[in-house]
Assembly symmetry: C2
Amino acid sequence: MSQTTTPTSAMSDTDLAELGQQLRVDSVRAAAAAGSGHPTSSMSAADLMAVLLARHLHYDFDRPDNPANDHLILSKGHASPLLYSAYKAVGAITDDELLTFRKLGSRMEGHPTPRLPWVDVATGSLGQGLPIGVGVALSGSRLDKLPYRTWVLCGDSEMAEGSVWEAFEHAGVEGLDNLTAIIDVNRLGQRGPTRHGWDLDAYARRIRAFGWHTVEIDGHDIAAIDEAMTSAARTRGAPTAIIARTRKGRGASEVEDKEGKHGKPLTDPDAAIGELGGRRDLRIEVRRPDEAEPAPRGGGDPHTSLPRYATGGSVATRTAFGETLAALGSLHDDIVVLDGEVGDSTKAQLFAADHGERYFECYIAEQQMIAAAVGMGVRGWTAFACTFAAFLTRAHDFLRMAAISRSSINVVGTHAGVAIGEDGPSQMALEDLAMMRAIHGTTVLYPCDPNQTVQLVTAMTGRPGISYLRATRGEGPVIYGPGDAFPVGGSKVLRSHPDDQVTLIGAGVTVHQALAAADQLVADGTRARVIDLYSVKPVDTQTLRTAAEDTGRFVIVEDHHPEGGLADAVMESFGNGHPAPRHTRLAVHTMPGSATPAQQLDAAGISAPAIAAAARKLAAS
Amino acid sequence: MSQTTTPTSAMSDTDLAELGQQLRVDSVRAAAAAGSGHPTSSMSAADLMAVLLARHLHYDFDRPDNPANDHLILSKGHASPLLYSAYKAVGAITDDELLTFRKLGSRMEGHPTPRLPWVDVATGSLGQGLPIGVGVALSGSRLDKLPYRTWVLCGDSEMAEGSVWEAFEHAGVEGLDNLTAIIDVNRLGQRGPTRHGWDLDAYARRIRAFGWHTVEIDGHDIAAIDEAMTSAARTRGAPTAIIARTRKGRGASEVEDKEGKHGKPLTDPDAAIGELGGRRDLRIEVRRPDEAEPAPRGGGDPHTSLPRYATGGSVATRTAFGETLAALGSLHDDIVVLDGEVGDSTKAQLFAADHGERYFECYIAEQQMIAAAVGMGVRGWTAFACTFAAFLTRAHDFLRMAAISRSSINVVGTHAGVAIGEDGPSQMALEDLAMMRAIHGTTVLYPCDPNQTVQLVTAMTGRPGISYLRATRGEGPVIYGPGDAFPVGGSKVLRSHPDDQVTLIGAGVTVHQALAAADQLVADGTRARVIDLYSVKPVDTQTLRTAAEDTGRFVIVEDHHPEGGLADAVMESFGNGHPAPRHTRLAVHTMPGSATPAQQLDAAGISAPAIAAAARKLAAS
């Protein structure tokens, strides 16, 4: 087969129809080689992809980090064969690599991930591409101030996800005319017809109501697609949704518009390839963007001081977080902050006073908040997304996918645990440590003191992966000095003596309870070591093992449900055959109601008297 | 103060305005007594509540379990003072109890929970009341076939949550004319103005686009409220949203329509009470519903057989789940099934063939799926909500709140772990055990065999709290007989000998790997006990402790991230000072790509050879 690179400017509509057929053929071939995959979902969108590549995308495939590049997000990530076929058509990958689809070690994964340099974010959990695209587009208009466009290819099934409507709302209100959603309405979901079938207007009505410009087209009409994309690029003040009627499996009679054909290779790929006009090897040159550089970053005022708190005072870690964030915002001009409409409570709002242009109000839409942070991370911004820790559970799937995206974002959850007091269980994060620890590659930090908070928040800014800070609502004593160091992966031994009989381990509010318990224990002759395990992940294995050797007994106390939190983190250090200490776990086993913070700690059995009692019992055993 | 009970039929609009003022006064008093709470958010909606109580709600406060009762869900749960003040006005609670608001032991919690018999579900995490209300309304129209209405009082801030739009979509398409959303547009969120302020039409346009009937009113105009509610009750074929312009803190100049007054008691409650016309003690009689009984339930065909699988065959646990569910549907006519548009994959669809009227397609909207299950649970239906385990993370906050609601629902997640193979990490649940274990009061089950699956799914149906079943995509060997028993909280010792040197512990796919490893170990003279820990929560502490005493060494292997899963569950049995065995944990530490299931298990180091190697190393130590 001969290969010629056609300048895209010279490609006729007929050429583009040919390109669409090639993308279909290659999608069929990739799935056939893999023995699995989603060719039919690729075939419906092939013409949309062809026109986008050849006429509208501005992208430098040799330089995926070119800041002027457009962004293409395949929200319907299962249509990965289409994306990879497109990469082949533009010369980014070979046909041989395309045919490694879904094989061990291949970059051509079942759903796209940023192992491929042209993929911004992992997709495959539906309803995430558009929310993240909003974050990228916001970066373009409000941070980078560059004219790149963000194109998001969506499926119709994923329109049922509420996260998509958070994104429509966010983009609509922000008037992001640099964002285009292309919705491939092939009317068939995984298990049968979608809710709205080919009722394009059902989608258009809804999306328009959210302030978008909409265009309804036949998604196999090259000229109509071209016109719609042109209209999207020309529209000012509103994002555009191109709502395209398509046929799933288009062009292959075995599968076209048939139920039961989702997520399977074709039974007879050769016949389908024949129907599609056979193999082609069109090679197209995607238009490169005009050279453009964003305003230089990484400056900031190096003379800004971080907050310092005098020992003996009383300060909430959330307050220290907010004040540190504000200072870091002056030190580093690449920090951006996203709020879930609780910035007055999380204290993230303190950042807004001096850095309002880098502060993003996401309202009560935690999925969109995390997605926007991921999108800004795509463009190199260091994002802090902040809300009550309890409400981060709303964004669990986005956090999970952010890890697969190799995204480095910072997440801050305040108002953790029963220590919030009267508001009751709906506002209490008692599962957040379990959630954040179990996500791949995370860092989980939980300070008990404002000076410690300063250090930990600062450490988060340069750290790869998802970093999570758990902060407390109420004030607590300042026990550390401003000069103390708190490395990630470390811990602080607050009481230690060669004759220690037991080790008390806490983090956050329970550190103060453990210290009080140690004082009570000394009074009746029991020496207790106290460890502040502020780095919950990674955990300070060496210090824990030494304490186990020295004292043989641990009381681990946490303001969290018993599962997945501090105690589990501690016990991780005693895998690999390392002898584990005898230990007692104190955690929140009951369903709290309303009460004062002190009453809550008592009721849950995680206050000083309960710790002291557990330690006495354990030491006597 | 004298108290008279006024028949609601005799109450004039002026009387209702008085009732509204009383609800405001009592909200101010409750928050003042507590020293915290949300009086201003209560005051904006007081007139809406007054008219609803007196003229439109049909509810038997003496018999909250009356199946004919309407349902009132306070989606803006922070306005709890308003709800409790309403309960006082209808005579359900005393003024003394009202003033225990937010105190230790009081039922008057900061946010409502079903500790109060008139509260269907806990609220306080915004954007959940309407989705759950859709589930209640669906029960009314499609299951109970009773004319009760569901009224959901929403805040304007929570309209930013995508879950609300999943609910608008679900209810709109289902044409739930027995559902009314009342949106209290007081224009002020927690930290300042909402996105749309008093632009009622911004809400109405969006909601209408989703197929609802909308009415825009002045939320302090008694006659207008009454007319809107009448219109809601009369509208056929569509749910109604009443979009009410209100003023936060209405009636008290200290706070009315002012920023910075969210979630705080008034500084001068006496002055505000004076402005509001002083204390009143109106006592109203809510109209009781007409007697009505739903069709009798709990019947079903007792002769239906549960599936039985012949040992030696090969069956996926997801298939056994689907087949069991279908049989249980015949045995028990109170079982309902909800699908997240993957019923062909989870096999939940097998239920639909014979029980289509109890099968609910929720499309790809996991939050709405769980919410609808909770709503059906309110009406006593035994719900199974099913999707890929990975996508249950989408509904984490709904599951967390379902626990606070004391809801008994069953959740099934299939396609767990790297064992799914080629689809890659976006589809792999590797955090679900951590998530589900950490939720209060859950049961977590993970079968490795189809006969075991039959027993466990059956056990879920009558179990209180949230029960979770983790199921596997691929086929596995049938190792148990149809008569074997698998009690919740138990385990199965598959290999055991007095000379065992090490215990291998797995669940689901890793059981089969552990068995293979044990065979390899025997070949070189190492005896290994094998435990199938199918009940991950509660865990079989006794069997684990015996194994620890007998063998002293554990290898725990799981198809899950290292945090929060099986190993942590095992180690829980060694708290309370009980000596822990030396142990090695094998779990998924890496970020998987695409590969075959067998390659995935190998790459993650959780297949038989890795288990055998770890056991040898541990046994030698």
